[in-house]
């Protein structure tokens, strides 16, 4: 019995040299993390903020001011309102697709829709024949005023790498199966434009008003990794 276990471990070691940590493998030390990784980062950012306040770079309330802005003023609720309005008003939809920033100005949206990371936004429309997906292979470009701040998966190197080559496979992993006849367009943002997606209005939503429709629209739908459902 003991021999069998020993043999199994031995053969596993042969087929996979990473079963046991062997520090002589070049590069191993690069992927060693401190056991206190998160505690140390938390202490470092706290120390940095504290020193920047002491030195007069920022005020005691600057960090919270920024965070409140994204909690309360700029988030996917803005994009959802624009989408719902576009579904109900063809003229507004035309304006949104032609000039997203002008569309934001045309209705009562918070001031700042053309602010940081929304200076120039454009919208790609999903139709029965075309499905759009936004990506940023170089970093994490994202339309802050309409969608808020990007989720971790959007910033993750695996998504950024794979969505460019195999968007259908990636969307399947997100639970979204796109018919082979539907064209997929991936918008890689590395220039001046911050792209987002106008999703399709779900069937069965005919009787709903704008506020009800807006409550259905998710950030994922406006990134092109989900559909809007009732």
């Amino acid at each position: 019995m003991l021999f069998e276990i020993a043999l199994r471990i031995y053969s596993k070691t042969l087929s996979n040299p990473f079963v046991f940590p062997v520090m002589s493998i070049p590069g191993d030390e690069l992927f060693a993390y401190s056991a206190n990784r998160e505690l140390e980062s938390a202490a470092k950012v706290r120390a940095l903020e504290s020193l920047l306040i002491k030195k007069g770079v920022i005020s005691s309330s600057t960090v919270d001011t920024v965070l409140h802005y994204f909690d309360r003023t700029m988030g996917p609720f803005n994009g959802a309102r624009l989408v719902a309005k576009a579904w109900c008003d063809p003229d507004f939809k035309n304006l949104l697709l032609t000039d997203c920033n002008a569309a934001c100005q045309a209705i009562e949206m918070p001031t700042g829709m053309s602010g940081a990371e929304g200076e120039i936004m454009k919208v790609a429309e999903n139709t029965p024949d075309v499905h759009n997906l936004i990506i940023c292979t170089l970093c994490s470009c994202y339309p802050w005023p309409t969608l808020g701040l990007p989720p971790y998966w959007y910033k993750d190197p695996t998504f950024r790498a794979r969505a460019a080559r195999e968007p259908r496979a990636v969307l399947e992993e997100f639970g979204l199966s796109i018919d082979p006849d539907v064209e997929i367009r991936a918008w890689d943002s590395s220039g001046q434009i911050r792209w987002w997606v106008l999703p399709e209005r779900p069937a069965g939503s005919e009787g709903m008003d704008e506020a009800q429709l807006a409550s259905l629209v998710t950030a994922e739908a406006m990134m092109g990794v989900a559909k809007v459902v009732l």
Partner: protein, 246 residues
């Protein structure tokens, strides 16, 4: 070739981690906000379109800090280190390094304060110092609301028009580029010529020192990856500055 410039199309990575949170640890929020405040207080904003009165903002921050600086830091990393660290860990490293290098803070000060917060386990950390300066926060909010658009008038004629087939150039790779690596030497079609020109941020980059005409370029996936190694019916649209076109 820099691996972090050429992420697009990398194979053999396994499934995507569908982490929907923007921040996975509380501390990440604060480095995000510090970076955003630095962009809002950056000295280059005196030449921005909103014409921010940046010289009169009562901050001791007197340097340029933009997306370009953050990206330059990440792109300059040893490529394996780049993949070792989580998104905001890279930000924390780059931003802390900047403040140390520029002399705003010293290593000794940072280590001493870190020791205090580590001792407290960050659960109920000591209060932050008190420094009320509403004019700093006003500028930060104004930057968030008014932004920093690079849109500038055209100073030269466009080289291409809609429908033209273009080949992406393959410039020397240095510490900062806005050209996705997987598009180098690939052929695409001009789909849109954007109006005006677009200035990028100050500082070293491969070719972005002057405002650039920008194009939306449509690439057939098979023209990038080959028929066998791409999915059918897929297109990539990329906004590419004219300096990156052959």
């Amino acid at each position: 070739m820099k691996l972090q410039h050429s992420l697009g199309g990398l194979q053999g990575l396994g499934p995507v981690d569908f982490q929907k949170n923007v921040f996975v640890h509380e501390w990440e929020k604060r480095i995000f906000a510090i970076h955003t405040a630095m962009m809002a207080l950056s000295s280059h904003l005196s030449a921005s379109l909103p014409n921010y009165p940046i010289d009169s903002v009562p901050t001791s921050f007197k340097d340029i800090w933009t997306w370009a600086d953050l990206r330059r830091g990440a792109e300059s990393m040893q490529p394996f280190e780049y993949f070792k660290f989580r998104y905001y860990e890279k930000w924390l490293g780059g931003i802390t390094g900047f403040f140390l290098e520029k002399g705003y803070i010293t290593k000794e000060e940072l280590e001493a304060d870190m020791a205090v917060y580590l001792r407290e386990g960050n659960v109920h950390p000591a209060a932050l110092p008190n420094h009320e300066q509403p004019a700093i926060d006003e500028q930060v909010l104004r930057y968030l609301v008014e932004g920093d658009s690079g849109r500038r008038p055209r100073s030269k004629a466009q080289r291409f028009t809609v429908g033209d087939m273009v080949t992406i150039d393959d410039p020397d790779c240095n510490e900062h580029t806005r050209l996705p690596g997987y598009l180098r030497n690939k052929k695409g079609f001009i789909d849109v010529v954007y109006p005006d020109s677009y200035a990028y941020f100050p500082g070293p980059s491969d070719r972005l020192q002057t405002p650039q005409i920008s194009y939306s370029i449509k690439f057939k996936a098979a023209d990038i990856w080959g028929e066998q190694m791409s999915e059918p019916g897929c297109f990539i649209y990329a906004d590419i500055f004219e300096c990156y076109l052959k």
